[in-house]
Symmetry: C2
């Protein structure tokens, strides 16, 4: 554990907090404050120089006209004011022994050359006082174990996912997305323009953080490509790294420059680095959620021979396509397996070769699918399993299967798991038995923790399998 680790770890263990930019009439500062109140962060104070009366409270939190008046040491300051006030606030923080300032305010390097100059000035001030800065143009930190938050109402449960995001909104939305899949965070970091602590610093930190088992990122660019490469090279040996790298095209790069002032760099170069070190690249939030699920508790494999099991025959074909497109091999089932399948599956409208097609009978006979999963799953020629099914109703079968086989399993669920039981009516309910919406996060969580992930299409399911194989078989 080096100095940087301790320094960032200290930030995550801040014990007192002051927030600038909270007003009586409300606004973004109040919104941020609500996040900390919801987490029950213990020592919160508001600083607002326009409120000079004593004993004022906003949202139940005491207001002071300056930092000094608070009278207790402040570890962390959140600055959510107009950008023109930020420099003076940073100086005030430095003079009062604040350890870290999260600059939520935007309107700096992402806006203009003048903004870039101001950023340099802010860093200079921070250095002088041995203070660290996060931001500007960021949401800050979410760490349920130490009650830090960047949005109201976030879950208080901790998990194993560490998330780093150049975009604050993506950091927010990701928490909601993850909540719906029963995924919890060790830490989520929105670092914005990253003028002091930046992407690489947080990546290095999460690489060493024992609470983080899996790292996911949204990034637009890096200011130090060499260090980034060294970091992913080292970290990806022990933890999976999933990166949503935006700015893959000239149009995207241009958008990134006005978003966080990022230089996206040559896309091919990025891909080479990602490929070489087994970093998993994704292109949107849907892919990100797929890959995170697959890496919550991945099961090691040394080969990539996939068995496909499907009730409908059509998706068996497109799943085979997806496997080949993602560099996976289709497993050759043993004769023993085929004989067993012959005894289980109806003779017609089915297939006992890989892809195994259970036929429509699977929809009518709940025991058939389960038996087939076990026969195929225990085949020694099968390293990984892709199952295409319409409904997750019989998810317990997968948990039991996994106890026996312990192989990576991906499920393509054509019909949305969050489906409403009310939307399926009449006799259709006989074949399509939806699970209760409220239960979805718990079901997905239980599956993920056993190395079983759920995907919205064949391509992402196959991509997840390939990434798991790659992760455990890096050169």
């Amino acid at each position: 554990m080096n100095d940087l680790f301790s320094e960032i770890d200290d930030i995550f263990h801040s014990r007192s907090l002051a927030i600038y930019g909270v007003s009586r009439k409300g606004g973004l500062g109040n919104f941020l404050l609500q996040g900390f109140i919801d987490q029950e962060f213990p020592n919160i104070f508001i600083v607002n120089p326009r409120i000079t009366e004593s004993n004022v409270k906003i949202m139940g939190i005491p207001v002071f006209s300056d930092l000094k008046s608070i009278g207790v040491p402040i570890d962390l300051v959140i600055c959510s004011t107009h950008p023109k006030f930020v420099q003076d606030i940073i100086i005030e923080c430095g003079e009062n022994g604040v350890k870290t300032v999260i600059i939520f305010s935007s309107g700096f390097g992402e806006k203009s050359e003048d903004g870039k100059k101001t950023e340099k000035e802010l860093v200079k001030i921070a250095r002088k006082y041995q203070m660290r800065l996060i931001g500007p143009n960021c949401m800050g930190l979410y760490c349920p174990s130490s009650k830090l938050s960047f949005f109201p109402g976030l879950p208080t449960e901790s998990g194993s996912l560490g998330f780093i995001s150049q975009s604050g909104s993506i950091a927010n939305i990701m928490v909601v997305m993850a909540l719906l899949k029963g995924i919890n965070f060790s830490k989520s970091i929105s670092y914005g323009n990253g003028i002091d602590l930046n992407f690489n610093d947080f990546l290095e930190y999460l690489g060493e953080d024992p609470d983080t088992k899996l790292i996911a990122c949204y990034m637009e660019g890096t200011n130090d490509g060499r260090r980034f490469i060294e970091l992913v090279k080292e970290i990806s040996r022990k933890k999976p790294i999933i990166i949503w790298k935006a700015g893959a095209t000239p149009a995207g790069s241009k958008a990134a420059r006005s978003h966080t002032g990022s230089i996206c760099g040559n896309n091919e170069l990025w891909n080479n680095v990602f490929d070489q070190y087994g970093v998993i690249r994704v292109y949107n939030m849907e892919e990100l959620m797929s890959m995170i699920q697959a890496f919550i508790n991945p099961i090691p494999v040394s080969n990539c021979r996939v068995a496909i099991i499907s009730g409908p025959g059509g998706p068996a074909v497109s799943s085979a396509d997806a496997c080949e497109m993602n560099n996976l091999k289709l497993a050759e089932l043993t004769n023993e397996t085929k004989l067993k399948l012959r005894g289980l599956i109806p003779e017609f409208g089915s297939s006992i070769s890989n892809p195994v097609d259970i036929s429509l009978q699977g929809a009518l006979d709940p025991t058939l699918e389960k038996a087939v999963y076990e026969v195929v799953g225990t085949d020694p020629n099968v390293d990984m399993i892709l199952i295409w099914l319409t409904m997750l109703t019989r998810y317990r079968d997968f948990l039991k299967l996994q106890e026996k086989i312990s192989k990576p399993i991906v499920i393509v669920s054509a019909i949305d798991m969050n489906i409403s039981p009310e939307a399926i009516t009449g006799t259709m309910k006989r074949a399509f038995v939806p699970i209760k919406v409220k239960k979805v996060p718990t079901i997905v969580k239980n599956l993920n923790q056993k190395g079983i992930s759920i995907h919205p299409n064949e391509n992402l399911a196959a991509k997840a399998l390939y990434n798991i194989y790659q992760f455990y078989n890096k050169s």
Copy 2:
């Protein structure tokens, strides 16, 4: 309207139906029968030679030991028996003036060379009696306007989507998927091995069918490539054709051969044909649903300059990437638009250039997004709009917007529309206001009918826009 059209149209207007393969103990035949009962098809009879008593009913439907005993002319027969009985049943049908037999039974050409021979025999018999065959190894027909069905509990409402599927299960699942998006069918056809009426026949039919405004297909191969090309060339001039062509890789092609005995053919060749005639190719059900939504009521455009509007800045960047990857141009907003936006959007953490970044303020101020949509939407340099948002809560804004601008609009909805209000708790509800699950199909339907479609990621949203542009600008 040619003979083939009339012939197939007559099948869709069958007035009496006999079904083989229904038994007292239940099974797939009974399952199929339930579909017709649920649609209230008027004249249904069961034929089962093992039941020789008179006045027997199964599921409320009278049973006869043979076709002749029914005593009324039968237009359509559904054959759901073991394959070994099929040939005799076809002969019996021919002798009794049946017009069409849907062979649900499988175990023919997709299984063996012998099966292929039997198929030829069946066609010969059908020709002799001037009878048409659908299948074998298929689900048959779903046509709510004439009460035909291939699955229990299907919606009784008609729509404008015509669907042709080599896979029966996909035809089924598609109805459920569509139901959840408020999409209804003119006809859905599962033709299986297509030994008599085949993919091309049904494509030709739907091309001329006035009730079908949009054709979607799942196919693995065709037995007559030249005719297929001629058909798509002609039909795609007037109706959009979306094809999920499976068997794109050697592994997929092999799977297709055992599924429906299809020869998938050279993938590049297929792509050339699709590109040349503006056929929209998709690779899985998720893509299929995206493109269908986009073409329920597409709005004509003559150029492809896209405006991106996003609250979160990150997805604005990846949306710009997705547009460029899908050959779209980013619109240059006029100075007038930018000036108007400057007056609306907060100065910091935002962008008034395309992609327009509303900033986090959009989550707090419901009127802001709406105002921005209108300013950007009415810009003369903007042909199409991509909106990235987390929740569809304010969907009415889009309907109102569309009344003013009438341009293709695609929405990327990061958080599942089918989300449960129960899954979002506490203060999180302030920013994430989910819509009621029950309302989703109606909301999506209303949006689709105004040329607004909802997509699970940036790539599919951009692909939808490009396909709309291509459809209206074919050479």
